[in-house]
């Protein structure tokens, strides 16, 4: 039985599950933009709000942290660049480079914003069926000329659907290599090549098989779509989100 990562849809009946996918996409945009304008305490408020949302739908933060462990290196890199490049009062000197107080705050803020956006994406994918995402993207892109809303929405939907599968394959490849003592090889480039080449090959191979299976079931751009309808709860949620964003940007 496959072990799933956090980044997959979790069937449920929570309020977040019931919100129209178009509103959820709007929330991501509003919160994302607000986080760019908000002060550190404002970003923290948004972060806590999203964490509360995750807790409401029963996602274990420990599981999320474990799934994102590979991401820590990227965050550490971003933090280090920010922390060492900002001016201000020096906190400590390391190998001739100055780590400043302002840099520490700025680095933490950037990392917090990145984590906030990841958690927002997680909240979205965990509570929104792929079919709803497809319908929402199709609705958003419909007025735009020269863009096939149906095709773009299907590509997005498939990407969302198969991210957990790709993560699972990455985990399997890593485990298979650990079983053959890859850790004894200290060269990170060698390890990266040995990990990524078979993984990418496998992803492409599976992508070919999936497209064949879709073709066998008469897949095309023209198909019966999901019906979307906004309800009073969607509008109330929008008001709540806007209020929180205003507080985080203007009052904190």
């Amino acid at each position: 039985m496959a072990e799933l990562t956090s980044f997959s849809y979790r069937p449920g009946i929570s309020l977040i599950h019931k919100i129209d996918a178009r509103f959820k996409l709007l929330f991501i945009v509003i919160i994302g933009l607000s986080s760019l304008e908000a002060s550190p305490s404002g970003v923290l408020l948004l972060f806590l709000f999203v964490v509360y949302g995750l807790a409401r739908i029963g996602i274990s933060l420990w599981q999320v942290a474990r799934d994102l462990s590979f991401f820590i290196f990227f965050l550490a890199f971003v933090f280090a660049i920010r922390a060492f490049s900002a001016g201000g009062a020096v906190f400590i000197n390391i190998f001739g480079m100055s780590l400043t107080y302002d840099g520490l705050i700025e680095g933490s803020l950037v990392c917090l914003r990145i984590v906030l956006m990841i958690l927002l994406g997680l909240l979205f994918t965990s509570t929104t069926r792929t079919a709803e995402v497809k319908a929402a993207i199709d609705w958003i892109l419909r007025p735009l000329p020269f863009i096939s809303g149906g095709r773009v929405s299907t590509m997005t939907g498939l990407m969302m659907r198969f991210i957990p599968v790709i993560l699972e394959q990455a985990r399997e490849t890593a485990s298979a290599q650990k079983a053959r003592s890859i850790e004894n090889r200290k060269n990170p480039i060698y390890r990266m090549v040995k990990f990524s080449v078979p993984l990418i090959e496998r992803i492409f191979y599976n992508a070919g098989r999936i497209s064949m299976a879709m073709e066998a079931r008469c897949y095309s751009d023209i198909r019966t779509g999901q019906k979307l309808s906004s309800k009073i709860n969607d509008w109330i949620s929008l008001l709540v989100i806007i209020s929180i964003c205003i507080i985080s940007v203007l009052y904190l």
Binding site: A2, S8, A131, A213, A216, R217, Y219, T224
Partner: protein
């Protein structure tokens, strides 16, 4: 009446491998056919020609009288294909959503889609798992979901590519019962396998393939004793001279 007619079918892959070599075969409506052969004998390639996933490089495949090359979408509606690896056939986030994928592609209205979902989940015994995530199902349940996804498109012919591979004993039993039930309901069944033991007792016809050719074709009773010479294990009951015994009995 022949639902499928294959005339002088050949298929050569782009690397020059001749996968199918001058195949002639007709399938009558309501037949239960087992195509057996060792790995690389061309079984899967042949199956993929039946619903236009591959097109002939020579010869013709007719489904219900119309060439598959001319109208592959029609062929896909008539011939439903269940792949060897269920994981790559399952598209939906939930069991229900996956079953809906085919009918949605046929542009049916939502009410009809809901009706078909309900019907096939009942037939395949998956009603209680309607909202489950496909990737958390057991091997047998996944295979039944793959069958349900195809059944929802109401095909007349069901083509199964190695339906028992990677299944445990209960999973194999579930899938075999399902296939037999579908045949009883009037569906034409075509199965490729290298493991005859499980299914041959239920088949009307056995076709043995080797090197892209049909080496033997006939009733299972007549040719089952020839299987070993083509690298296919002869079922135990046949070797013991016990006649055809269902694997379910």
């Amino acid at each position: 009446m022949n639902i499928i007619e294959i005339k002088e079918l050949s298929h050569m892959f782009s690397n020059g491998t001749l996968a199918l070599d001058n195949i002639d075969l007709s399938v009558k409506q309501g037949e239960f056919i087992v195509i057996a052969g060792p790995n690389g004998s061309g079984k899967t390639t042949l199956l993929r020609h039946l619903n236009g996933l591959l097109f002939p490089t020579g010869g013709i495949v007719l489904v219900d009288g119309v060439s598959v090359s001319e109208d592959p979408v029609r062929a896909r509606r008539i011939v439903g294909m269940v792949f060897q690896d269920s994981d790559t056939q399952i598209i939906g986030e939930t069991v229900c959503e996956d079953v809906a994928f085919g009918p949605e592609n046929l542009c049916l209205d939502r009410k009809e889609i809901e009706q078909r979902i309900s019907d096939v989940l009942r037939i395949t015994g998956l009603t209680c798992l309607a909202d489950a995530k496909p990737h958390l199902l057991s091997g047998g349940e996944k295979r039944r979901l793959a069958i349900a996804g195809v059944l929802a498109m109401k095909p007349e012919v069901l083509a199964f590519d190695e339906p028992f591979s990677n299944l445990d004993h209960p999973g194999t039993k579930q899938v075999l019962k399902q296939i037999i039930e579908l045949h009883k309901r009037g569906r034409t069944i075509i199965i490729t396998t290298h493991d005859l033991e499980k299914v041959i007792a239920h088949a009307n016809r056995l076709i043995i393939m080797t090197d892209g050719k049909i080496a033997r074709a006939g009733s299972p009773e007549q040719i089952i004793s020839d299987t070993e010479m083509f690298g296919i294990k002869e079922p135990y009951f046949s070797r013991m001279g016990l006649g055809m015994i269902s694997w379910l009995s």
